[in-house]
């Protein structure tokens, strides 16, 4: 038979699927850090800003860390994941078994997270940090998060009930998708093989997903508390601006105006205590916090 040469994806299917599994685990590790850091907002604006500043104190190496552990893994995982999902033939009506429901839910949450992550990174960071693009993104409701005014800016975002609900759904979907994915990865790589071992691993994974979901929801609740009144946002902003000034003066973080909140549309301008400084790394997308 004169066969046609199989496609690149088919020829390297094994490697691509294993990388899909691996990138999911790597990005999953980041998601855990991300949600735990976010949950520190429950302890107030200062606690959250302290963690965000600690991440940003990495300075010039931060974009490298972000690309290796966050952006490249998730981009690969998202697009290969879409390819995998397209080929499925769900049959839960005729085969309503628990594992089969998790199979379908894994793909449904994956599709939601695909859209959610794109939207979330746009809304908070605007995807790219070119100045001209950021102007456009802000007009479209993007780039609303300011790392150096972390609690106050996320508090403003979470004032919107619909946004909060979509984030809550995103957090729960991520918690399930991650730990159900850890369970299937254990089968894929051959870590748990026997039914008893798989059942035990599933219990641990589902407990972990409930825990991570709760941590993520508490972060949303904390952000909504900060954003609940104009006064509490102002308070948070004052704390953040003070922390920024102190850290810049101590040389712990480089002064970076584009990571701060600028209320061009509000009637009052918050006092900017630091001198406007050169914008370094204006082109890297960052959503590390």
């Amino acid at each position: 038979m004169a066969g046609t040469e199989p496609s690149f994806f088919v020829r390297h299917e094994f490697l691509i699927r294993r990388l899909h599994s691996l990138t999911g685990i790597i990005f999953g590790g980041y998601v855990c850090v991300h949600l735990f850091v976010n949950a520190s907002i429950v302890g107030g604006a200062q606690a959250f800003q302290k963690n965000v500043l600690a991440i940003h104190s990495m300075g010039g190496i931060l974009p490298l860390v972000e690309w290796v552990f966050i952006f490249l893994p998730i981009l690969f995982h998202m697009f290969v994941g879409i390819g995998i999902t397209v080929g499925m033939i769900p049959n839960n009506k005729n085969y309503p078994y628990e594992a089969n429901w998790r199979y379908t839910l894994q793909r449904a949450t994956g599709l939601y997270l695909f859209l959610f992550i794109l939207w979330h990174v746009f809304q908070t960071h605007g995807w790219f940090h070119f100045d001209w693009w950021l102007n456009v993104a802000e007009r479209w409701g993007g780039a609303q998060f300011s790392p150096y005014n972390a609690a106050s800016s996320i508090g403003l975002i979470m004032q919107n009930m619909l946004v909060s609900l979509l984030y809550a759904l995103g957090v729960l979907a991520a918690a399930f998708h991650l730990f159900n994915g850890v369970w299937t990865a254990g089968i894929t790589w051959g870590i748990w093989t026997r039914p008893h071992a798989q059942a035990n691993a599933l219990k641990v994974c589902l407990a972990a997903s409930v825990l991570l979901g709760a941590v993520g929801l508490s972060a949303i609740w904390g952000a909504r508390k900060i954003g609940s009144s104009e006064e509490s946002i102002k308070q948070a902003e004052a704390i953040e601006n003070e922390m920024y000034t102190v850290q810049v003066e101590a040389g712990l973080i480089p002064p970076t105006e584009h990571k701060r909140a600028h209320h061009a549309d509000s009637d009052e301008t918050p006092e900017l205590t630091a001198t406007p400084a050169s914008d370094e790394n204006p082109t890297h997308p960052s959503d590390e916090d």
């Binding site: 199989p6 094994f14 080929g87 369970w183 894929t188």
Partner: protein
């Protein structure tokens, strides 16, 4: 439930019919006089004897496959009330408890239909060829006594050896898709089969062949072909396509630990892939 079934006089059987490969399918209902302890095969025999549908119209007899009548050959596998299983062990009284008054029969959903409830499952057997699911001793040489087998290994392998290649595992699999190449006019059966085999070359092997590969990799003599099997399992359509829905193990009539075989195949291909990188 039993009270209503003792009073029952008849029940309906809805069958998805198809005259020939590639033809459109249609539902036809038959009315069967009730008697206790029928199975689906005996119902199909009654339908063949009647050759009339529920409306009383004459119709062609429904075609089906069967062989052993004791759930060890897999020939009579079909989709009964939405679930794939053997019709010889599908008891009418139980089916009517599941769904009052009517039984629904369909051919298997992942294989080309030959006629009515008869399907062509040769993709299952081609998949067994791909993973070399045999012990390589097919010659006349005297190799002396075979290797010793431990009791433990024998107990691991026996359940896997019960597979009858019925195809329930792949029919219920949400990752396994149907591949059907239509036969061209004037094309020989061999030419058509070759085109069919080519079309399914990169498609998923399914649980049964993966499990058979694990059975023969565990066998002391069969393990001589272990690397070939692992190459096939990590090639196109191999173990990586599995989505862990685990329907296979839930529907397997022989209760073969298919998901254990799949996880073992995952482990063996992991080690095999790493070894291949360093042996290069």
């Amino acid at each position: 439930m039993t009270a209503s079934s003792t009073k029952r006089e008849s029940f309906d059987v809805r069958i998805l019919r198809q005259a020939a490969p590639g033809e459109p399918s249609r539902w036809e209902t038959f009315r069967i006089p009730y008697e206790p302890n029928l199975n689906v095969i005996s119902v199909l025999q009654k339908i063949a004897a009647m050759a009339r549908n529920a409306e009383g119209k004459e119709t062609t007899p429904v075609a089906w496959d069967c062989n052993c009548l004791e759930e060890v050959c897999g020939a009579c596998t079909m989709v009964i009330n939405g679930r794939v299983r053997q019709s010889c062990s599908a008891l009418v009284d139980r089916l009517l408890e599941e769904h009052e008054g009517e039984i629904e029969l369909q051919p298997m959903t992942k294989f080309p239909v030959v006629r009515d409830l008869v399907v062509d499952r040769s993709r299952m057997f081609r998949a067994l060829e791909k993973v070399k699911a045999w012990v390589p001793v097919d010659d006349y040489y005297d190799r002396g006594a075979g290797p010793r087998e431990s009791q433990e290994s024998q107990e691991e392998r026996y359940p896997l050896s019960e597979c009858m290649t019925c195809g329930c595992c792949v029919d219920a699999c949400p990752q396994y898709s149907k591949v059907e190449v239509e036969r061209r006019p004037n094309e020989s059966i061999e030419e058509h089969q070759a085109r069919q085999a080519e079309a399914e070359k990169s498609e998923f092997l399914g649980a049964a062949p993966i499990s058979q590969a694990m059975l023969f990799n565990r066998h002391a003599t069969g393990a001589m072909l272990a690397d070939d099997r692992l190459n096939a399992l990590s090639g196109p359509g191999g173990i990586q396509v599995c989505g862990n829905a685990q329907n296979c193990v839930a529907v397997c009539p022989k209760e073969i630990p298919l998901t254990t075989s799949i996880a073992r195949a995952g482990r063996q291909t992991t080690v095999h892939a790493i070894k291949k990188i360093f042996d290069r």
